[in-house]
Each structure stands twice: as C-alpha cells, then as structure tokens.
C-alpha cells in the first residue's frame, strides 16, 4: 500500500505527518481517542545510523513535548543498512539508542503500537517496530529475517530441503502467517484500518505476551515454559 493511502485510511480525522526524501515519516495524527504521535519508514528503507538518530530524536521530542501521547510506528524496512561505514561508526549502538529511547517512552507511560504495512526485516525491525506493546500487520506485508536462497547459502542446507520444511514449520519460512503463529504479531489488520487502530488504542498495554501468543497458536511452544522454569529456579 502507498504511504499516502495508508495514512488517509488510518487517520480520516486528519494528520500532519511528513515524509522525507530519505525514507522517514513523522508527525502527529488526530483520532477519536485523541492525538497520537506517528513515526516510521517508507520505501523499504535500509536503516542506517542517520535514520536511527532521526527516529530517536523524534521519540525524545514526543517524550518531552507530549507526555503520555501514544506512539504508532509504521514499519517498512528491508533491515539494517549493510555497509562498512555504518559498522565503523558502531551502528549497533545507534540502533540500541533508538531501542532505549522507545523503552524510556514506555516507562513514562506512552503506549507503543506498531503496524507493519510493507516490509519488516531483521535488524531494521528489531530497532523499533519490535519494541511495541502490540505489533500488528497488514495481510499483504512481508515479514522475514532472510529469504530462503540466502538462508540456504549461509546454513549450507539445500534449498529444496528448506522449501519442504518451510511448508511444515513456521519457525524459518518468511511470511506474516508464520510470524503470527509464533506470537511475533498480535493481529492482522483489515479495513477499515482507522477502526482497528482505535481498538488497539483502547487496550491497555499488558507487557510482553508474545510467548503466550506463540503457545496458544502452537508456533512457539517452548519459549514460555523455559523462561518460566528459569524464573522459578
């Protein structure tokens, strides 16, 4: 879905979200539940140090200027930017900074929501979208860590074998349905999107319940039990 159409569908009451040439979007929107802050990426952005800093700056501004205002993250990223320069500058520190700013917002009472509307891939997804209290997606979005051919190359397993197993196991095949089954996605939104957003804004944050969702949906059956055994040890 085009970013403009997405914003129009999400915010029929209007918004002042700006998109930049370097693939970022940020601003505020009006909803029936009040104003919300919106930030995200467009054009399958490869998240590098500059973008991470800009998003972190936006979060810090929201925390300072709009106490308690919910934050919606709109995700379209092909992952972290792969470059020697980003590594040289310590890109993991920049992404961790963004993650910490979002945690600060949560601690200070900002509800964090994510909508994956196009692509969500590994490091770029970890750095912001995956930090939300609830992570939602559109059915047509693409969620993955790595595509199967690249995975075959790195794991040295034959592609045919991976294709065969991906039909049976949600844990390594890309796709919204698989991430949903593992508990990585709370729900899959369908139009009207504005109504889905209002429903999500109505639910108070309930902590990280992805392991429970993964168990209920039989995609990730051990994570919750293992962590519980450790907590009780």
């Amino acid at each position: 879905m085009k970013t403009k159409d997405l914003l129009d569908q999400l915010f029929p009451d209007g918004h002042s979200i700006e998109t930049t040439a370097d693939g970022l979007l940020s601003g505020y929107a009006q909803t029936a539940k009040g104003a919300i802050a919106v930030m995200g990426t467009t054009g399958h952005l490869a998240l590098g140090v500059e973008a991470a800093l800009s998003l972190a700056q936006f979060v810090l501004n929201v925390v300072k200027q709009s106490p308690g205002c919910p934050i919606l993250m709109l995700v379209d990223t092909q992952g972290q930017r792969l470059s020697k320069r980003d590594e040289l500058l310590g890109i993991n520190g920049y992404l961790a900074h963004l993650v910490k700013c979002l945690e600060l917002a949560r601690i200070r009472g900002h509800q964090l929501l994510t909508l994956v509307y196009a692509e969500a891939v590994s490091g770029g997804f970890l750095a912001f979208g995956l930090m939300a209290d609830e992570i939602h997606t559109l059915a047509e979005a693409k969620v993955r860590v790595m595509n199967l051919p690249a995975m075959a190359r790195i794991t040295k397993l034959p592609l045919e074998k991976l294709e065969e197993l991906s039909a049976a196991s949600p844990s390594f095949a890309p796709g919204v349905a698989n991430f949903y089954q593992l508990g990585g996605l709370r729900s899959i939104w369908s139009p009207p999107l504005a109504a889905e957003l209002l429903k999500a804004l109505d639910r108070p944050p309930a902590g990280d319940c992805r392991r429970e969702d993964g168990l209920t949906r039989q995609g990730r059956t051990l994570a919750g039990r293992v962590a519980q055994l450790v907590r009780e040890a």
Binding site: L82, H97, K100, E103, G123, T155, S171, D208, R210, V230
Partner: protein
C-alpha cells in the same frame, strides 16, 4: 633471564568455552547452573532439520558470586552454532533477566558470543532477541545493572550486537569484535569491494576491541585473560549505576550525533584514530593493551 615463577597463569578468555569462562570469572565453586544439560531442553527446530542439538541449546545460565556479591550470569557457547540465538537459547536468557527483576542480584553478567539470530529457526530467533532486549531493559529499570563481556572467537553480532549496547556497561578484549552485520554477511550481500571479510587486519580495526573502546562503544578494554575480565567486572560493580532516564539518553544522543558529524565521512578506522589525536594511527593495532591504554589515556576520548 626473566623470572616467570611468580606469574599467575594466564587463562585466555578468547580460547575458553562458555563453562570455563564462568568457572574462572566467578568466585571458586560458587556457580550453580539453571536448566543445565541434564534437563535436556533442546531445540525442536534443529531436530526437525535433522541437525545436531545441544542439551543446553548453546547457552549456560545460573547463579553465582563475584567477589562475594550475588550475580546472575549467562554465557553463550560459540562452539555450538556460533552462539546463535534460537527459541530455547533465547528463552533461557530472557528468563534469567526476568529472574533478575525478582531476585535483584548485584548484577547480571552476560558473556556474549553470538552471530545473532540462528537462521535455522530464524523467525523464532528474531522474536527471541526482541524479547531479550525488552527483558534486559526491564531489569535495568528495576535497578539491576547488566554488564556485558565480549571476547570470544565469534564476536558479538546481529541482534546480539544491539543487546550488548543495551547493557549498562561493556568489557572487551583486543580480540573481541562487536558490530551489527558480520563481515561475512556484508561481503556476501554487498560484495568484496565493500568489505573483504578475509582481511583480518581490516576486520579487527573496523569492529575490534580497540576501535570500539576508542569510539566509546565499550567502557573497558582488557588483556585476553579471564582474571582481567573479573577484575574489570569488580571495578565496574563498584561504580554508581546510571539509570536509563531522559537525561542519560539525551546525553547519549549528543554523543552519537557528534560521532556521526566528526567521523561520518571516514572510510577507515585509521582516519578516525588520526582525528582522535593519534599521529601514527597505523601503529595502534600493534600496541599491547597496556601501551595502548596509556596512549589513549593522554587523549580526550568521547564520553559514553
């Protein structure tokens, strides 16, 4: 002739495995493992692929004491799939960080050695790392400091590179490497012109311990000796814990902005080192840790 008789035996951190590191980092005989290999929690996903499993899924976790203080500790085993994070591996670490909120130990020590997400169970691994990050930050907010140690053969990359920088403090040896995308991943995806992963000197000066220390990405650089890591942890524990608040994050923001504006156009770490103030940057990789720290001590390094 030099007399070595009084010198303590050096135990390499780089060459040690996960359990050996714990045994020699903590007070003697103080470690008790949680969910150890006898419990046999293995990866169901590796089993489905017909691949070998590890009874601890590549991570050792438990309780112990360091200098008499109670700590929780986790140690990733690089020897098993490069320390990569799968469902069970990740859940053990998340559970440990959640246990820290209940027990309030003096610290959680994370001995990080990982390539990041275990691709054989990629989706479960990615979600697991996100859960680790959240649990780590909750532990910090509960007042428990989390200290990361890096110095193994496989370095600390992928999502675990983000986890590392969520810690209160990091300790690294010269051999340690810390980054996001591993050199092989960059070379495979972007081509050898972008980064030649087989050029060890280039890799070390880009993501190695000395460069990370000079950038302010890690707080301590130590010799490759488990006893040195132990001493650095003790000294770190004696310091006041910085809360994760607006003031701290605004300070970090300025530091990262400054770094980008100062070094954003550098193509090699040697250019950065020259700008930091080293007249002969190419000599830095050759210095032993003592001389390196001495040289760095006379400069005004970026505060982190």
């Amino acid at each position: 002739m030099t007399d070595f008789s009084n010198r303590q035996r050096v135990r390499s951190y780089y060459e040690a495995n996960a359990r050996y590191r714990i045994a020699h980092l903590l007070d003697a005989e103080s470690f008790s493992e949680i969910l150890g290999p006898t419990e046999r929690f293995t990866s169901p996903h590796l089993e489905a692929l017909g691949l070998p499993c590890a009874f601890d899924d590549g991570i050792v976790i438990g309780r112990g004491c360091l200098n008499g203080l109670p700590v929780l500790i986790a140690s990733q085993e690089g020897g098993f799939m490069g320390g990569a994070v799968g469902e069970v591996h990740g859940a053990k670490l998340t559970g440990l960080l959640e246990l820290a909120v209940i027990e309030k130990p003096a610290a959680v020590l994370l001995l990080l050695e990982s390539g990041g997400v275990r691709l054989h169970e990629a989706n479960a691994g990615l979600i697991a790392i996100s859960e680790i990050i959240r649990a780590l930050l909750v532990a910090r907010n509960a007042g428990v400091p989390v200290i990361g140690l890096i110095g193994g053969v496989f370095g600390c990359f992928g999502g675990m590179g983000i986890v590392a920088r969520c810690c209160n403090s990091l300790i690294i040896n010269e051999e340690g490497r810390l980054g996001l995308s591993g050199p092989e991943v960059i070379e495979t995806t972007m081509g050898v012109e972008e980064l030649d992963a087989s050029d060890r000197a280039l890799v070390w000066r880009t993501v190695g311990g000395k460069h990370r220390f000079l950038l302010g990405e890690v707080q301590r650089l130590v010799e490759d000796d488990i006893a040195e890591f132990r001493q650095a942890v003790i000294e770190t524990l004696a310091k006041t814990v910085q809360p994760l608040d607006l003031e701290a994050l605004e300070r970090e923001h300025l530091v990262l902005e400054q770094r980008l504006s100062n070094y954003g156009s550098c193509r090699d770490s040697s250019e950065i080192w020259r700008m930091i103030g080293f007249d002969d940057p190419l000599r830095l990789p050759l210095l032993d840790v003592q001389s390196f720290l001495h040289a760095a001590g006379s400069l005004d390094l970026e505060a982190s």
